[in-house]
């Protein structure tokens, strides 16, 4: 965690080496985007829903302290124990203290990007506690000792033959098996035993309703519910930005979440937990971990409106062709690239540059986060704060000088055309000019348009 990760561009190069896999990854995610478009277009009021969702979140953020207080009071009145965690370490300690109090050894966890962000599993491992991730995709990456590469489709980077090999090694399935049905059923049997034996279940939270103290968790597999209802203790971990004011607001978000995420009308289960099950305990851990700092950054605060649908990942041409792991952050893709620098500028300075700024992410965002605009603004902040590699910063500085002055621009153009004719390798040399790695330059023209115009028709 303390060493600087492999920069995105470098990790992406490695990912791009396997052309077949890149194409498959690209096409699979684009298909999810296609399914999303298809189902979204069935809703005539989609744009109005986006406006509403965005405004509800804007409003909530503008009174977040009151809503947090209201939520806490309601949850306590419901018999839920509420905990507050300032950062990841705090969160992990709190979860561990609940496990320790119950002497829990068998823990099941459904999908929670927050616990990934806090590295909860690794922390608990150091305390001698094993957590079993129960979402099928998460279980696959957990057995393979990896992080999820996508916030909604954690194992999207893994081929079925590889899942077969992972399950053969860990679950004893037949060697060489690659049928998704066979593999998923094997995982079902394996995880059923874990659910039935679990002492404590940990879940994430999709929405937290201030007026009732209820939390809503959405899954297709039913794993959050199986865990939470079978174990004696349910711990739900949420970031402060999960709040919405009222129950009726769920209608807006539940109409959008699954449609935008996977192209389904709604997830198979949208579970509303308000009170603990009779005879059981329920805990909610409310986590900051940099979110209040982001709230204070005017240019970036509306990233906190995110409902983690993953649509910006599916649509992003850079994500689709570089894979989630190249972002070295729990949340990958465009949304990850605007959240990560807030957590650690030095470590994540490369991520806002992993974008073409095409704006597709902004177009599909259900809560209208101006993602590509924030990527652009992060680049400026990171450069000003000195987190951009010296060569890139120096190059930008030179370019800025050249582009700001017509005389310098014209002079530079003239010499570039000459030099490129004499020494074409200057631009095509891939170590000297990383931009040329996947690109070929056309032959430089003899003259610029300006020069041609002056000769051929320029009156003055």
């Amino acid at each position: 965690m303390h060493t600087k990760p492999i920069p995105h561009a470098e990790a992406a190069s490695a990912f791009l080496e396997n052309k077949e896999r890149v194409q498959w990854h690209d096409e699979t995610l684009w298909f999810v985007r296609y399914k999303r478009d298809k189902i979204v277009n069935e809703i005539p009021e989609w744009e109005q829903l986006r406006d509403l969702a965005s405004q509800i979140k804007d409003h909530t953020l503008s009174q977040l302290d009151q809503y947090l207080g209201q939520f806490e009071a309601a949850a306590i009145a419901n018999g839920v124990t509420v905990h507050w965690a300032a950062d990841a370490a705090d969160h992990n300690r709190i979860v561990h203290s609940i496990l320790a109090k119950h002497k829990a050894q068998k823990i099941v966890k459904s999908k929670s990007m927050l616990t990934e962000e806090c590295h909860l599993n690794e922390y608990l491992e150091t305390q001698g506690i094993e957590v079993v991730d129960t979402d099928l995709g998460e279980r696959i990456v957990q057995l393979n000792k990896e992080m999820p590469s996508h916030i909604v489709l954690p194992a999207i980077h893994i081929k079925k033959e590889e899942v077969g090999e992972i399950f053969h090694q860990h679950l004893g399935t037949e060697k060489g098996a690659s049928d998704p049905l066979y593999l998923a059923l094997a995982a079902r049997e394996h995880l059923r035993q874990k659910f039935l034996a679990a002492d404590i279940a940990i879940t994430g939270v999709n929405f937290a309703v201030a007026e009732t103290g209820a939390i809503v968790v959405c899954t297709n597999e039913g794993n959050a519910d199986l865990g939470a209802h079978l174990a004696k203790v349910h711990i739900a971990c949420m970031g402060i930005e999960k709040l919405i004011p009222r129950t009726e607001h769920l209608s807006v978000f539940l109409r959008m979440l699954a449609r935008n995420a996977t192209g389904q009308n709604i997830t198979a289960y949208s579970s509303h937990f308000r009170k603990p099950q009779p005879g059981s305990e329920m805990h909610i851990v409310i986590v900051d971990n940099g979110r209040t700092t982001q709230l204070g950054r005017e240019a970036f605060r509306n990233s906190l409106k995110c409902i983690r649908c993953g649509a910006c990942l599916n649509t992003c041409p850079v994500y689709r062709r570089s894979g989630g792991h190249s972002y070295h952050n729990a949340t990958a893709g465009p949304i990850g690239a605007i959240l990560a620098p807030n957590l650690d500028m030095r470590k994540n300075a490369d991520l806002p540059f992993a974008s073409t700024l095409c704006g597709s992410c902004t177009d599909v965002c259900p809560v209208k986060i101006d993602i590509h605009n924030q990527l652009y603004q992060w680049r400026q902040v990171l450069t000003q704060e000195g987190h951009v590699p010296a060569a890139k910063a120096a190059g930008m500085k030179v370019m800025a000088g050249v582009l700001a002055s017509p005389a310098r621009y014209s002079f530079a153009g003239k010499w570039a055309r000459k030099l490129l004719r004499w020494f074409p390798s200057l631009a095509l040399n891939k170590t000297f000019n990383p931009w040329a790695k996947q690109r070929d330059l056309p032959a430089p023209p003899k003259e610029s348009f300006r020069e041609w115009y002056q000769k051929n028709g320029g009156s003055k």
């Binding site: 699979t28 009021e45 109005q48 829903l49 509403l52 405004q55 509800i56 804007d58 409003h59 953020l61 503008s62 009174q63 977040l64 302290d65 419901n78 507050w84 300032a86 705090d90 099928l136 489709l153 194992a155 999207i156 079925k160 899942v163 593999l183 998923a184 059923l185 079902r188 297709n220 597999e221 039913g222 794993n223 519910d225 199986l226 209802h229 079978l230 402060i240 004011p245 129950t247 009726e248 607001h249 769920l250 209608s251 807006v252 539940l254 009308n265 709604i266 997830t267 198979a268 289960y269 579970s271 509303h272 308000r274 009170k275 099950q277 409310i286 900051d288 209040t292 709230l295 005017e298």
Partner: protein, 189 residues
């Protein structure tokens, strides 16, 4: 204390007040809610059976699950049998429960903890049967929450189809951790 620290930071860093938008009420343009509901739940991997009020469900359920040994039917089944079956919920083949309302646009059925008997039942059973009254069908989620109003059960869940996953190469597999199938009985008045 983290609590005070977080709340103070929010207070300091939050933007100027933004008004809460008026909740718009979106009409659902389809009149045949039963057909729309059936289409939505079928797409989600479930199926519907239309029956008349008063018509017994047990024969139809037996016909749908001819091999099922352990059927916990909380609508027509007898209490003693159900109580015995509840001793080992993990062995249940079929669970039959009442649903509060159905949403035509997405095929979701609202089931509360009271309907579930035990919260885990609709998830742990191999096959789930939900029974709803046709007049409880609503168009979309806005109408569903309007009907539910402030009832706020201790626990409630919208169930839209059997449990499923597409986590292996986006191939859809029905029956992830929960039910492998879902049958809905729509009872017409």
């Amino acid at each position: 204390m983290s609590r005070e620290k977080i709340l103070a930071a929010v207070k300091q860093n939050k933007p100027a007040p933004v008004p809460l938008p008026e909740m718009l009420s979106f009409a659902y343009p389809v009149t045949d809610l039963t057909a729309a509901f059936t289409a939505a739940i079928t797409k989600a991997g479930g199926a519907t059976n239309i029956v008349k009020k008063g018509q017994p469900l047990t024969p139809a359920i037996k016909a749908l699950f001819p091999d099922a040994q352990r059927i916990a039917d909380f609508i027509e089944g007898d209490t003693t049998t159900n109580a015995a079956l509840l001793q080992q919920p993990a062995l249940l083949d079929v669970v039959v429960l009442k649903g509060q309302l159905g949403v035509a646009e997405n095929g979701a059925i609202w089931v509360t903890d009271k309907d579930c008997v035990e919260r885990v039942l609709p998830f742990i059973t191999q096959h789930l049967v939900l029974v709803i009254d046709q007049p409880t069908l609503v168009g979309n989620m806005h109408q569903a929450y309007a009907v539910m109003g402030q009832q706020n059960p201790d626990y409630g869940v919208f169930i839209a189809g059997p449990s499923k996953t597409a986590d292996i190469e986006q191939s859809l597999v029905i029956g992830a951790h929960g039910p492998r199938s879902m049958q809905v009985f729509i009872v017409e008045p």
